[in-house]
Structures are given as C-alpha cells and as structure tokens.
Chain length 219, copies 2
C-alpha cells in the first residue's frame, strides 16, 4: 500500500492528513486495491456498491449505454480523483452507470461504513476525513450542475462553447487540453460526432477557436 501514498497525499479525501496517518488509516480501514486493464469494467450498471473509490493510477470513464447502443459519458475520472461515493452511502440505490477503464488503471476501495464510524484506535483523523468527504462531494455536485448547464444548451455550437469556455476558465488559460477524443466529447455533450466535427470546423473558420487533437484554444 505504501506505493500509493504519493497519490493519496494529494487527494481531497486526505487533505491535511500526514503520511503516517494515511498509512494507519489504510490499515485500519482495510483498504483494498485492484487493477483493471484498458477496456475492463470497474463497476456495471445495477451493481450495489459499499465502497468509496479512489483512482490511484490510470483513467476511467463513467458512462451509460442505452438499449440502442447510444453511449453517454457522465464524467472522466483522473488519477487521484474519487468516485462511487454517491452510491456507497447507506440506503442508496444501485449504481446507475458503468465505470470503465480507458487506460490500464488501479483503484483503491474504502468501505464507507468504516470511514463514517470512528474506530477506537489511533485514527483520530476520521472526523477530518468525513469533512473532506463532504467538501469533495460538494465539489462533485457543482461539477454535475456545470455539466447540466452545458447540456441545457439547445444547439451543438452552444454546448461546445459552454463546455470549452468553462474548461478554459477552470484551467485558467485560453489554450488547454481536454480529456476526450472527438467521439468521447460528443458522448459527453450528447451530440452527434459528425455534426459536432463539422460545427468545430465552422467555428475554426469563423475565427472563434483553433484546435489540434485534444488541445483547444479560444480566441
């Protein structure tokens, strides 16, 4: 478990917690690690979840496919980010989405009940971690709301501009990379890939933006 400390140190969940305490908690919480190859599923729609998960390595896609094979990407999970927490809460319904590895990945599983129940031993950081959990899930909440504002736009162009300008603002610069290829971006914004591609071309011709691969610049 020790090899994951450099990642965990930087996570929201363990903000303000020292290395030794993290190690102690990993032990106390009986954290489990598991590897996934590119394309494998971490969770499937309909599964019941008891664990809060942290991505220690790689990249995941939280997505959903409907009857007709239309894929909708809810979010990308980057190294160090948490996921699954919304479904791990006691009384939660089952997982509504798939979680798939888009790269070879490693995931750490934390049992929610153990996190929420202060143990008797030296884990005096439990209450801090619970607070961190609250902050983290708050931020995720806001992220979902931002995504809703993109999705509520009517046209492909508006959705693109809403997302890209938000991303520029978030990354604090007008030139930035996005964690999607074209098909993934289309699935994320729920638009047709080819229509989106042509719309991007038009916007480039109009001098609104430029792009190469997954690097965009707003002008």
């Amino acid at each position: 478990m020790k090899k994951y400390i450099p990642v965990l140190r930087r996570t929201q969940l363990f903000a303000g917690v020292g290395d030794e305490e993290i190690l102690a908690m990993l032990d106390c919480l009986q954290v489990k690690a598991h590897s996934f190859r590119k394309g494998e599923y971490v969770f499937r729609q309909g599964e019941h979840i008891d664990d809060i998960c942290i991505l220690a390595e790689g990249r995941l896609s939280i997505q959903r496919d409907d009857y007709w094979g239309n894929r909708s990407i809810i979010n990308m999970v980057e190294t160090g980010e948490m996921f699954g927490e919304a479904y791990a809460a006691p009384g939660s319904e089952v997982m509504m989405n798939d979680v798939a590895a888009v790269e070879d990945s490693a995931v750490l599983f934390f049992n929610v009940k153990k996190i929420l129940t202060t143990c008797s031993s030296a884990c005096r950081f439990h209450s801090l971690v619970v607070q961190n959990l609250f902050f983290a899930i708050s931020e995720k909440n806001r992220k979902l709301m931002r995504k809703l504002t993109h999705m509520s736009k009517r046209t492909t162009r508006e959705k693109l501009l809403s997302y890209l300008s938000d991303e520029a603002k978030r990354q604090g610069r007008s030139s930035f990379e996005i964690p999607f290829n074209r098909q993934q971006l289309a699935d994320f914004l729920s638009v047709d890939r080819s229509a989106m591609s042509s719309e991007l071309g038009k916007m480039r011709d109009e001098g609104i933006l430029t792009f190469q691969k997954n690097r965009f610049a707003l002008l």
Copy 2:
C-alpha cells in the same frame, strides 16, 4: 423557531435527532429564518453563500437564465428539502444559479462552519448531523445524475419518457403528479414548450400515456 420543529423533524439533516436536540441545535447554530413572497429571489447567480438552507414552507425553483432569456430549471425544492449545501462548503465558488420562490416560502439558514465544527456545549449530535449531511448530498448527487440521463436523450419524446418513467418509478405508481406546469417542464428538460406540448399530444394519441394538468399516467 419552535413552529418549525414538525418540518425539521422530517428532514434528512435531522434524521435520528430528537425534538429537544433539534431545538438546542437551532439555538447553538444560531439559525436564522426568512420569508420570501412568490416571485422573490432567495439567492442570485454570483452570490457567495455560507449557509446550508432548508425550505420550511412553500416551494422554490433552482434555475438559470442566460443572455437571451432562455430559462433552465435545475430543480424544484419542496418543503423540508435542503438546498445551497453544494455552494456553502468552504472554498466553494459562488452560486451558479438563481433560487426563486414559486410560492410564498420560508427558509431556514444554517451556517456551515458551525455545523461542521463541533461546539463545546451539549450538541453531541453534531457528528450525526454531519453524517446526515453526507447522505443528503449523496442523494442529491444521484438526483443530478438521473437528470443528466434525461437530458442526454436526443429527442423531446425520449426526454419526456425518460423523465416520466423515472418519476413513475420514484413515486411507485403509474399515475402521478409532477411539480411543473408545461413551461416549467419544458425549461426543466431544456426543450421547446410548444414542441413538447405537441409531442405529448402525439404520445397520448398513440396510447402511450394520458394526462390532465400536471397529473400523468403511463399506460
């Protein structure tokens, strides 16, 4: 404050907390109440928020208007529900939406820092309330994700069916009321009201559903 006990007793935030303890906490947390008339704003886009809010009476709409006057309704808040918690967390950005009273309403304001910081007096329920806060925000998270699945549908008909069948499932019956009139439902699903109205008519003619006012039945 005593008059709000019957409402607060049933909230997620105070689940498992007795009446006397709630009263003690209201005092300890220096909770404030405020009334809003129909049409008034509780919060406005861009405001900074330090309080978790509970709607003690009435009904609110969490919404957003863009430059061109297009309104997007994120969610309706019913009596007893919590709101604002995602923006009240320390380090949060400012409010991204408007919160407007759609009926005469009363709101209770709880300072987040006071909730998260266990005080020295008799409020030994603080940790339970923090846990409740986590469960509540988890549920809201799932609600947002469900909304995203509706919004990710491409056509008005699919959005309607996604939302209505979800609502039927949630309420546990095939005949149910929704908290929207037609314009609000259109703003909630981000579609054109008239197109939605005509789509509803077609679906009724096809025998998929029936409706009178805001009561729908799936067949």
